[in-house]
Amino acid sequence: MFATEQQVRPHYQSIYERLNDMTADELDRRQQAANLAFLSQGITFTVYGRDEGTERVFPYDLLPRIIPAHEWATIEKGLTQRITALNMFLRDIYHEGKILADKVIPRSLVYSCRHYRREMRGVHVPRNIYVSVVGTDLIRLEDGSFAVLEDNLRVPSGVSYMLANRSVMKKVFPNLFGSYGVRSVDQYGQALLSTLRALAPAGRPDPNIVLLTPGVYNSAYFEHTYLARQMGIELVEGRDLLVHDNVVYTRTTGGLKRVDVIYRRVDDDFLDPLAFRPDSMLGVAGLINAYRAGNVALANAVGTGIADDKAIYAYVPRIIRYYLGEEPIINNVETYLLDDEKERRYVLENLDKLVVKAVGESGGYGMLIGPHSTAAEREEFRARIIAEPRNYIAQPTLALSQAPCFVEGNFEPRHIDLRPYILYGDQVTIVPGGLTRVALKRGSLVVNSSQGGGSKDTWVLYE
């Protein structure tokens, strides 16, 4: 919000003035109104490991994050470029493997990835689209530019909060919002539906599209019901589906109904007990065969996790150059690969300055934050890195940018990131906005909802 200590950045000027005019009581009243709106709409997520009161409201911060048009234009271009290249990479990996033959990426790195799916070798996916729905985490660096922290190419979540934050914002600050020239995000449901429709198998002009959820106990169940309603499609569980002669059906009161496209919010591992984990109760036996036969489309495709592996991440700039012959528009955060001997030596010597992450983990687990670590922790990670270098990467400790938040009656700075949602069907569509996540604990760098994160509405301006 502030460029320097005293100077407000221009696109925040008007909101700054309006907020200065409001009393703390009035702001507090609006915060209460917002919280109530979330609660009564049942916009909650599930906290695991407790019997009672497992549903919680996702904390919502009253102050919007504002992104001016020219910054958004860069983000949009950069993400489109990145998704296009990653999608080409996935197709290549599961077919000819040119990028491996040309030694741009080490073969061992791909084949050792936990999310690589041998079952997908040579499988044709509709329109060669592997990643239809993507959530990419961006952070703002000290020089003001954006960088990609992480790609989420499997089953990214959180988009319902983007939509719900906006609808609450419009109710709580109608005048301020109306005067600002903010681009709409409400078309997301429609855009997602046409993205899914584009994947329908040939000869199915009016495809039956369903959303596959793990069920009511999943932490994102609210989002699943919300998106199904927004799109007007059926919300199904694994037990509602069956496969016969490589065709997928839902069991309805009117008989069996053929399914053409599945927007699945179930991980690869649980999709089909015949192909992956045999103990999965969430999937559908025979689904993968129907998929390979081309009778049903899955969004996202199986095996996309290879492209958001944290070690592959370090190669994304090279992937972009290789397939598109362009320089990346949005950069990566600088990343050290630990199976490279030179980089490993540097990292081991500088563990106290770096962040070390396990490649297979997410949600802020399995990390060493160098400057906040003890000597014992560093020794432990040193041993682990030497034992299994492929499983770790290191990055410089980043100063995540901060934004003011309304905390207990005061404005206080908190660390934030941004997750825009990218849809890839007939064309690439990025709804102008995203989920701005906030680390609500003072000084914390962790924005994950499971670890005390909250969110803000994100305003992308017309100009």
Partner: protein, 318 residues
């Protein structure tokens, strides 16, 4: 509509009807048994338990009441039924109206948060009333916030099948107290309370009095609860609703095999429509009631076979 959704809506409705029935039965019988001799009281509760098809292990009056109100292991207990109904509603939350979900959720928490000493302190009556009213409110909200489409008809079928079953089971156990020659007579004093209790257990006392005056005769009680076409807790009324809803479901799904469930429902309704109470009583009331319960079971099975658990290869062949 997904079969799983139909399944959940059907059971949500059945469980809630069962909870309401149990609450009413207990309320009436608990109050009435307070001024009975211990032997009469024991016989009364034996019948209540038999009509609910429930057992409560070696308990006195208070133990039985508590068991039927709260025991989670007892599938007929009020708390267990409401927890089940709420779980069914939760599974299909996006298919019912927000108001419905809020109401069943509220009722669930009210029942769950009642502790046992408070239950006895505040009089059991107020607890049973809370359950009854909570269930009525849910039914009212259902009827006024939902489209009367397939989903609503499955809710109706669940509710009225449960009701037909409960009313006939209750009648059957109640009439075991009479010796054969007493049936056609005005009831003796010591049976009077039992028959008023029976009517009240079906909220039928006032409606009965309007139809027949307060002259309580077993034969008329049986006629009213079995064959009255206008009273919403009579078996005949339930059969009509079941038949209508099954026809509506058959039409909207276009199921080829819908005929069996509809035929069974039609047969039940016709038997009740054209039934003569004197013939039924002269013949054998108990086997007549047993046959009604058997037919309810058949309707349930055929609904499942047609709409919910049908074999996939038959559906593919058709």
């Amino acid at each position: 509509m997904l079969s799983r959704v139909a399944d959940n809506l059907y059971w949500m409705s059945r469980y809630l009807e069962r909870a309401e029935h149990t609450a009413r039965l207990m309320d009436v019988n608990f109050t009435q048994s307070l001024d009975q001799t211990p032997e009469a009281r024991d016989r009364r509760w034996e019948r209540v338990l038999a009509s609910l098809n429930a057992t409560v292990r070696g308990a006195d009056l208070y133990g039985i009441v508590e068991g039927l109100a709260f025991e989670p292991g007892n599938t007929s207990s009020i708390a267990a039924c409401i927890a089940q109904a709420r779980e069914n509603a939760r599974q299909v939350r996006e298919q019912i109206s927000t108001e419905m979900y809020e109401q069943i959720n509220r009722l669930y928490f009210q029942v769950r948060n009642t502790n046992r000493s408070a239950f006895w302190d505040d009089e059991p009556h107020s607890f049973f009333k809370l359950v009854r009213e909570g269930a009525h409110l849910f039914q009212g909200i259902t009827d006024s916030t939902m489209s009367y489409d397939e989903r609503w008809h499955f809710i109706q079928v669940g509710r009225f099948l449960e009701r037909a079953n409960n009313t006939s089971a209750l009648l059957s156990t109640q009439f075991t107290v009479l010796r054969e020659n007493e049936v056609a007579q005005p009831v003796m004093e010591y049976h009077y309370l039992d028959f008023v209790g029976l009517l009240k257990s079906c909220t039928a006392f006032e409606a009965y009095c309007k139809a027949y005056t307060a002259d309580i005769q077993p034969e008329r009680v049986a006629e009213f609860l079995l064959l009255n076409p206008d009273f919403p807790r009579s078996v005949c009324f339930a059969a009509e609703v079941i038949q209508n809803s099954l026809s509506a479901i058959g039409r909207s799904t276009g199921q080829r095999h819908a005929g069996r469930a509809q035929r069974l429902a039609g047969r039940l309704r016709a038997a009740l429509d054209y039934g003569q109470v004197d013939e039924i009583m002269a013949d054998d009331l108990h086997s007549y009631l047993a046959s009604i319960q058997r037919q309810c079971g058949q309707i349930h099975d055929s609904v499942y076979q047609t709409y919910i658990t049908y074999p996939a290869d038959i559906a593919l062949a058709s």
